[in-house]
């Protein structure tokens, strides 16, 4: 037990050393705003990837409307700061909470049933959210909404660490094992006394919450948000992080979010090329590594006994 706790703190310390170095580079202006911005964007995308990983990779529920929760977090937090004059931190949390509530509303009816109702429900939900914002003049309609720049490297990194710690800790507990058992065999999970609806909804609500947080960071990083930023293609981008990383692997989702964000940043001026490269990467992965980059393994598996982690159900006790 002691060793496991130590591994946890060791990772946290390592993360903050990394944070400190980057922060130092930023404050001494050695890292130009373009790179800083890319780093922030990477954090946001990792949060999105890891939150969707909990729903798809761990619990096995196919959600294809993650951008809906992102949009909700973005708009709610922007309304909080821009219209209501709330502090950014409060706006972030509000965005997360509203997204989580939306997750509850979408999740409860569709997750009670077995099968892929969630895919249809989330797809519809994301589209409805987008169309609602498109038609509300209060938030600028199609022209979008001006948002101050408030997202910093520090806030995004803190949110990222919070997301990973919460989702990893959830996963590596009896609750996470319950979710994985649903993914593996829902009928057997039910027969073993797992309240499957409860856990599917719990995972989905937690995932939605962090997507909402990501939305707040996203809105306050781009000066303007428009409904067009949150269409199906955005949901698809997030889905790709999870699939490419290997369904069930948290570190896989992180790695692929980093890689793909870098790739698309450099191909920003060439959206067609980006789509082609994305598609090629996907086809290659499907052909040569259908289990994704990491399969269900975690990075820590490669360090032998040190912090042994298995199939997305790590140091559970």
């Amino acid at each position: 037990m002691l060793k496991k706790v130590n591994t946890f703190w060791f990772s946290i310390v390592l993360a903050f050393v990394f944070y400190g170095i980057i922060q130092l580079l930023i404050s001494t202006a050695m890292l130009n705003p373009f790179y800083t911005n890319t780093l922030i964007f990477i954090c946001i995308n990792i949060i999105l990837a890891v939150s969707l990983h909990l729903v798809i990779g761990i619990t096995g529920q196919f959600s294809i409307g993650h951008a809906g929760f992102l949009a909700l977090g973005a708009y709610i937090s922007a309304i909080m700061t821009m219209k209501l004059g709330m502090p950014f931190s409060v706006a972030l949390i509000a965005g997360g909470i509203v997204a989580a509530l939306a997750g509850l509303v979408v999740g409860v009816p569709s997750l009670r049933l077995r099968g892929d109702y969630l895919a249809i429900a989330t797809l519809g939900f994301a589209e409805i959210i987008r169309i609602i914002f498109l038609n509300i003049d209060y938030v600028g309609g199609a022209a979008g909404m001006q948002v101050t720049h408030a997202t910093t490297w520090t806030t995004s990194f803190l949110c990222l660490i919070l997301t990973i710690v919460v989702i990893a800790n959830f996963t590596n507990s009896r609750h996470g094992r319950a979710c994985i058992s649903i993914r593996e065999n829902e009928i057997a999970a039910d027969a073993m006394g797992i309240n499957t609806t409860y856990y599917k909804v719990a995972a989905f609500v937690i995932g939605s919450f962090f997507a909402g947080i990501a939305g707040g960071l996203y809105a306050h990083n781009f000066y303007i948000i428009q409904p067009v930023n949150f269409g199906f293609l955005k949901s698809f981008d997030i889905l790709i992080f999870v699939v490419l990383g290997g369904l069930g692997s948290l570190s896989g989702a992180v790695v692929s979010a980093i890689l793909l964000t870098i790739v698309s940043t450099f191909l920003q001026g060439l959206p067609e090329t980006r789509m082609i490269i994305y598609s090629l990467v996907l086809v290659m992965v499907m052909l040569y590594r259908p289990q994704g980059l990491m399969g269900t393994r975690e990075i820590t598996d490669y360090f032998g006994k040190w912090g042994r982690v298995k199939g997305g159900n790590q140091y559970g006790g």
Binding site: M1, F170, R174, D190, A191, M192, G193, T296, G316
Partner: protein, 262 residues
């Protein structure tokens, strides 16, 4: 034999579309009994298990367990009341470790909350440690402790079947339902399995209902046997009574003819 049955099934039936898969099924189980449920393929045995465990809601009749009506209760609630089962076609959590398969069954016996796990409170560690210790104890009984970190899907078939029983037991049942636990096993494995079943029955004070397709197998260990054919109860009684029952002989003869053709 005690006076009060633990399980009482009365006139239970279910139809799928027009097909009556099971009709007018009756069964009384007394604490500590080991009862066999036999019948040819497609007779409705698995359907009876699905009715008992809440997978299907009976369209007629009543099921009471410890004097409580349980028809139509969600499967996880039935399990928490004390009925646990295995599946005819093994249903393990394939990608999870052997240990985690058993831990999942312990889930509802633990109490640390989602928040305690997320924030890694003391309660989480105590709860998880307890689950781990109990799960390992169980695996030892089934001689699976040496493969505890193996993924369930990587176990040989016989061990997978044992793991499924271990998992069902970990859920803490009073009544254990075993659906053809010996299917696909060789005679030696089957014999060991039957000994194991007798052992856990004593050890955990279980009442067991055992489905078996092969009549000979259950004759040796069951006190009473119920025979299903085409969804109907055609005989019940001691192994000897059942063995010589004309309807049973007919049902099994019929099957032999069918399987020879197949």
């Amino acid at each position: 034999m005690e006076a009060k049955p633990i399980l009482n099934v009365s006139q239970v039936g279910i139809s799928f579309g027009g097909l009556k898969a099971v009709a007018g099924f009756n069964l009384e189980l007394y604490p500590g009994e080991l009862i066999g449920l036999i019948g040819p393929n497609g007779a409705g045995k698995t359907t009876v298990f699905n009715l008992l465990t809440g997978v299907y809601t009976p369209t007629e009749g009543e099921i009471t367990f410890n004097d409580e009506r349980i028809n139509g209760l969600a499967p996880y609630k039935v399990t928490r009341k004390g009925i646990s089962r295995t599946f005819q076609n093994v249903r393990l959590f394939n990608e999870q470790s052997v240990l985690d398969n058993v831990k999942v069954a312990y889930h509802s016996l633990a109490s640390h909350s989602i928040l305690s796990s997320i924030f890694r409170l003391q309660k989480h560690f105590i709860g998880e440690q307890e689950m781990e210790a109990k799960a390992i104890d169980f695996l030892k009984i089934f001689q699976l402790d040496k493969v505890k970190d193996e993924k369930a899907k990587n176990l040989p078939y016989g061990e997978q079947r044992r793991l499924e029983i271990a998992r069902a037991l970990a859920a803490g049942p009073e009544l254990l339902l075993l659906d053809e636990p010996a299917a696909g096993m060789n005679p030696k494995e089957t014999k060991e399995l039957m000994e194991l079943i007798s052992f856990i029955r004593e050890q955990f004070n279980l009442t067991i209902l055992l489905i078996e397709h092969d009549m000979k197998l259950v004759m040796g260990i069951c006190e009473r046997i119920s025979v299903l054919d085409h969804g109907l109860l055609i005989a019940e009684g001691t192994p000897n009574e059942v063995r010589n029952h004309p309807k049973v002989i007919e049902a099994y003869l019929g099957e032999e003819v069918v399987s020879n053709h197949a």
